[in-house]
Subunit: 394 residues, 2 copies
């Protein structure tokens, strides 16, 4: 078999995988996920969703949480957390942990982390409410209360009695308690770019709603994961300005290149740069409303946007459970290590920055060291490298 034909066969095999996982398991006629109107039994949840790595939306599972009524009062939140200091993520545009043009070279993208500051909760919440990306109107600063380090049981401890400590049917199914529980308070300006987490995720919306765009791990090549230089916003209270600085020493973060909601101007360029995203099956989409829980399986790529409640806030709590690093994970690493040669797909773009970055990075070479290229959990880019699979005990 000639090398060209082999390459074509591998491409077809990868594209066939995208279709087959949908036909067999996820559903190929709709882009919606299963919606359960009552919580599943642990066995059902394990058999029908965790084991096949399949997302679902669950209603009527957290109706008893006091948070659902109490947290609609901003006064209650401020009073309960009056003496708490919390971490606020600040960006000029609501896009923390996302790809942004670097000021020195607008055609070169960097992975931009938020400016993080600790402040009293009442002040922090005020900053979220005053967030605005339109500098004409004033602040040009978007605040997002989130810290994916188990913050709900630490910084927000005084609120934690308003939700269950864990999701009982999920804990029983997974055989362990959550590794981390995180609180998210933001508004429509904050968007989380495509990424995946090495956790089983139970995501409960308390107020407002969250919209998820989802792709299964089989579709990894469609995300165009590339390494980007790591940068961080620095915010000056005096000037109200952000500066985006490359981290020193220079280091790279592997991140998804695709934005599912490009601007009108970007879309044409993106369609030719990311043909696998645009020509493959449509992503799954789900809107999680207040009182609903999303099961977001480990290793699924997800992009999250939000719509606020009448106060202008979106509030959610998510439970991260340890995933099992089993045959599915080994298969994923194998798939990811197979290079889908995009060069021959879009020869006209060989000169683009993205393609040049591909030249610099030999994705396959990492396999030769026995370690597949890892994409990192958001907010965990430094720690994750050292995270080893570990057993999950209740």
């Amino acid at each position: 078999m000639c090398p060209e034909a082999m390459s074509t066969a591998t491409k077809l095999a990868i594209e066939n995988l995208w279709e087959e996982v949908r036909e067999l398991s996820l559903g190929s006629t709709t882009y919606q996920i299963d919606h359960l109107t009552s919580p599943p039994t642990p066995l059902q949840f394990l058999r029908d969703y965790i084991s096949p790595n399949k997302p679902c939306l669950i209603s009527n599972s957290v109706n008893h949480w006091p948070a659902l009524s109490r947290w609609s009062s901003t006064h209650y939140l401020k009073k309960t957390l009056s003496s708490s200091t919390v971490s606020v993520h600040l960006t000029p545009n609501g896009r923390a942990d996302s790809l942004t043009p670097h000021r020195d070279n607008s055609s070169s993208l960097v992975f931009a982390s938020a400016h993080v500051e600790k402040m009293p909760f009442p002040v922090a919440l005020e900053m979220v409410s005053q967030s605005d990306t339109c500098s004409g109107k004033g602040s040009n600063c978007v605040a997002y209360l989130q810290e994916q380090n188990d913050c709900f049981r630490n910084e927000y401890f005084d609120l934690s009695q308003d939700c269950d400590d864990h999701i009982p049917w999920a804990s029983e199914a997974l055989g362990c308690l959550p590794e981390a529980v995180n609180l998210w308070i933001g508004n429509e300006f904050s968007v989380t770019s495509f990424h995946k987490d090495h956790y089983e995720n139970l995501y409960a919306v308390i107020s407002g709603e969250k919209h998820f765009v989802l792709l299964p791990p089989t579709d990894v090549h469609r995300m165009y994961i590339r390494e980007y230089p790591s940068a961080q916003y620095h915010y000056s209270r005096d000037t109200g300005d952000f500066k985006l600085e490359l981290k020193e020493p220079k280091r790279y973060v592997p991140w998804c290149s695709v934005d599912p909601y490009p601007s009108f101007e970007e879309k044409g360029r993106d369609m030719s740069r990311f043909p696998l995203y645009y020509k493959g099956p449509k992503p799954f989409e789900v809107t999680v409303k207040a009182g609903q829980v999303l099961y977001l399986p480990s290793m699924w790529f997800h992009h999250v946007s939000q719509r606020p409640d009448s106060r202008g806030l979106t509030v959610a709590v998510n439970y991260w459970y340890d995933m099992r690093f089993d045959i599915k994970y080994a298969y994923f690493n194998f798939l990811q290590s197979i290079k889908y040669s995009s060069r021959s797909d879009s020869p006209s773009h060989q000169q683009e920055t993205l393609e040049q970055q591909e030249d610099d990075l030999d994705v396959i070479s990492s396999v030769q060291n026995g370690a597949a290229l890892e994409q990192l959990n958001d907010g965990e880019e430094e720690q994750f490298i050292n995270r080893l699979p570990h057993p999950c005990d209740i």
Copy 2:
């Protein structure tokens, strides 16, 4: 990247997968499987074994079955089944559904099915007892009572009250009852060659013991699955001779080429023909004794040999449960469709029959039709083609 380097990277990725699934999940320091000394709960079984596609041996799970004591009496078996007609599989060497040289061309292997005859159970059991492969001693005919079509609930119905209808913790975990329950009565002459089944398998030994050599589905390239012409033994009672005839019209069965127990003469040749089998990780091995149950996960390659009880019989019952055709199955099909180019590994063997067969068969081409090459369940080679994944309901 040059085509040669790409091919090397793919090979390394496949070899890395073999190692990684062992390091993460199956165990890499021992070639034994988990041994549970009591039956697992349905949740444990689903979480720790079915979901990660990991085998285990379970003791003290079927101690209450009357079969364990009753079936040690040959008199009881003959009396209970005195009026039953059963299917007997006859071969000259105990190797049904296995690769055998064809009489017209000893260097060309065919897939040989047994001669199957129906006869009264007492006569059939007598044939098993008199089985012998040494023609000098007499019969040169090995009989094996087995028919993988739910025979325990049909031909052997009168024995079926001696075992449970199903394995309760497995049925609850899988959410369904067995699709088929099969009885196996044979002796040390009968060997089942490497193959895989599209079922979750609970395999209970009643008398004697069975020895399994196991490879996970990730190791599919190490099995050298090739298509072989289908042939069938025809036995003449008059002459006591077997004739092996190619089936008409000619058709091919994909089957594993590797024999884990080659003769001394064959071993050197096999090591150079099947380098991936010999250079990869050692297979898992387990001996299942009377009263024990093996969980043999779907899609695992298994080779089975047996040691008889004091009467000269090995008796077992296995429960086939529908497997879920989910992301693991899609990943498997993807993996199998990636051609591991063995040509460059062993250029000196390009002229061998096996390699010539590879030239004839473009394994990759089947992917282009959206259908990965399937290996068949034993005894199901004709039916399986039409077996579609279907939901599993209790």
